[in-house]
């Protein structure tokens, strides 16, 4: 017993446990769930029913079994590598996409710290800069897949993806400058701590209230990073079939798709953490005698529910807004989002200096 406790207290073991918990019990299940929910919810938007036929005997579970059916199907599908493709790059491309989608969860706190123990895999000093580094790695997934497939459509998709993702990285970083200034840190835990305060004990000091413009730009840039509608020119179903992963099949294709849906959850978690107070439950400080376990549970519940709501919101956006043409995507980025992000930075700086 003593040995087990000591083993569990090792920082390394704790990190592994946290990674397992956050990935296997939160991010992956939610991501897989989103693959079905995207179809179900889009059906609801369009007055359809959506998938409901996968069954075990007569049990259908309102379409839930489609998740299992999809997984089984993609595992047993033939894994094709097109003739003339670069085998090595073709094989590692899905890993880049998947890895960059998953790595976002490394710095996201899912509940408030208890003493020294943080519900966060790692609270690195550079904080969000880590996110920018990781999301730029995601570009490699698309580019390598496009370049190695030996297919024109895939190449088009890859080039579009690289251009789009690299330019939206700029606004992704710029839109958060104001946030860094307001909370005085790039570290995620500090930003979330800062959002726990209230103005006049009433309005929570969430990022969305302090940085509304930053929120809009950041959300837009993140959607562009995940390459989903309205910024799905790299996948461009109507003109280049599926873009950079058009040649993929079987489990490799599934890992691209799963990466996309985990990225949705990641985006939702980031938005929640940075702009909606993360795990901070508003007005909870009034209840001082609350037991610690209940507080932690409430915090996790708040974080999870906001994450879920933003997953839903992204899917809703996707089924609402028509696709941008590629030049429109670029024009929106460089001509509109860039000035807005810069303006936001300057105005925030002026206000902070004026208030100080």
């Amino acid at each position: 017993m003593q040995l087990v406790l000591e083993f569990l207290a090792l920082p390394f073991v704790q990190d592994v446990l946290k990674i397992l918990f956050i990935l296997l019990l939160f991010a992956m299940p939610l991501g897989t769930f989103m693959t079905l929910m995207e179809r179900k919810w889009s059906a609801a938007v369009q007055d359809r029913i959506g998938p409901n036929r996968a069954n075990i005997g007569s049990y259908r579970g309102r379409g839930l079994l489609h998740i299992a059916a999809d997984a089984l199907k993609s595992i047993f599908k033939e894994d094709l590598i097109p003739k003339g493709a670069d085998k090595f790059l073709y094989t590692i491309a899905p890993f880049f996409s998947f890895m960059s989608a998953v790595a976002v969860f490394a710095i996201i706190p899912i509940a408030g710290p208890i003493g020294d123990f943080k519900f966060q895999v790692t609270d690195v000093q550079p904080g969000l800069l880590f996110i920018f580094a990781i999301t730029s790695l995601g570009v490699y997934g698309a580019v390598l897949a496009g370049a190695s497939s030996n297919s024109k459509f895939a190449l088009f998709g890859g080039t579009r993806a690289s251009a789009q993702m690299i330019s939206y990285e700029v606004f992704l970083g710029l839109s958060l400058m104001g946030l860094f200034m307001v909370y005085g840190s790039t570290q995620v835990s500090a930003i979330v701590e800062g959002q726990g305060e209230h103005w006049f004990g009433l309005i929570p000091k969430w990022g969305v209230f302090t940085q509304p413009l930053g929120f809009v730009v950041f959300f837009t840039a993140l959607i562009a990073e995940t390459k989903r509608a309205p910024f799905d020119a790299p996948e461009g179903e109507s003109e280049i079939v599926a873009g950079y992963f058009v040649e993929y099949s079987g489990m490799r294709w599934s890992s691209f798709m799963l990466a996309e849906y985990i990225a949705i959850v990641g985006v939702a978690a980031l938005i929640t953490t940075l702009f909606f107070g993360g795990y901070q439950v508003p007005w909870l400080y009034h209840w001082e005698s609350a037991p610690q376990w209940l507080v932690t549970l409430l915090q996790f519940g708040k974080f999870a529910s906001f994450t879920f709501i933003f997953c839903w919101f992204q899917i809703q956006i996707r089924w609402t807004v028509p696709k941008f043409r590629f030049d429109q995507t670029m024009a929106l980025g460089w001509k509109k989002l860039l000035p807005v992000a810069l303006l936001n930075t300057v105005v925030t700086a002026i206000i902070i200096v004026a208030l100080a």
Binding site: W41, A43, A44, V45, Q46, D47, R48, I49, V216, Q316, I317, W319, T320, V321, L332, K336
Partner: protein, 192 residues
């Protein structure tokens, strides 16, 4: 020549340029549908096909059937009118004599190849005895082999339920010449 041209103003106003009002209007619509379909009254128009079927109009030309007289025997007098008029040449009739004098002539064999049929309904129009009809309302016909689509006389007859005054039972009807057994109908119910 001067054309009347209506000039459409395509300049982007602030509202357009901001995108957000446009997205908000779109979201209003999609969310209305979403919430109505998830929690409220469903607007879904999907028909869950194998379990539910779309109601068809009374005039809808579905699978054929051979009608019966009040005493239960076939109305058809094997006059070959339908076979002659059929544009797809898919009806095949062989006439025969019956010991009952009230019957005179009857089809010993009456086959319709439903794969060739174009469902024009001309056979129904041509029939002087109202012996053939297309009012069964059967929409889907799907089988595994081509032969199954060759509907025999008994199969065509048995999609119709005889009334109580039936004089002839099915056993009284002479067997078709080729002894082909009746096939299950399109709903998978085997013919009696």
């Amino acid at each position: 020549m001067k054309f009347k041209v209506k000039k459409v103003d395509r300049s982007e106003g602030l509202r357009e340029a901001l995108y957000i009002p446009g997205i908000a209007v779109g979201l209003k619509h999609t969310m209305r549908h979403f919430f109505r379909n998830i929690v409220g009254k469903k607007d879904v128009v999907t028909i869950q096909y194998p379990e539910e079927e779309r109601p068809v109009s009374q005039r809808w030309r579905g699978r054929h059937r051979l009608t019966r007289r009040d005493d239960g025997f076939l109305k058809c007098v094997a006059c070959y009118m339908c076979e002659t008029v059929c544009p797809a040449k898919c009806i095949h009739i062989e006439a025969g004599e019956h010991p009952d004098f009230s019957v005179e002539k009857y089809p010993v064999r009456f086959d319709i190849d439903e794969l060739r049929c174009v469902f024009c309904g001309l056979c129904v129009e041509a029939c002087p005895k109202e012996a053939i009809r297309m009012d069964t309302g059967v929409i889907g016909m799907a089988y595994h082999s081509r032969e199954s689509f060759n509907f025999t006389r008994d199969l065509l007859r048995d999609t119709y339920t005889p009334n109580e005054k039936t004089k002839y039972t099915d056993a009284d009807l002479p067997k078709p010449l080729d002894q082909q057994s009746a096939l299950p109908n399109s709903r998978g119910i085997p013919a009696p």
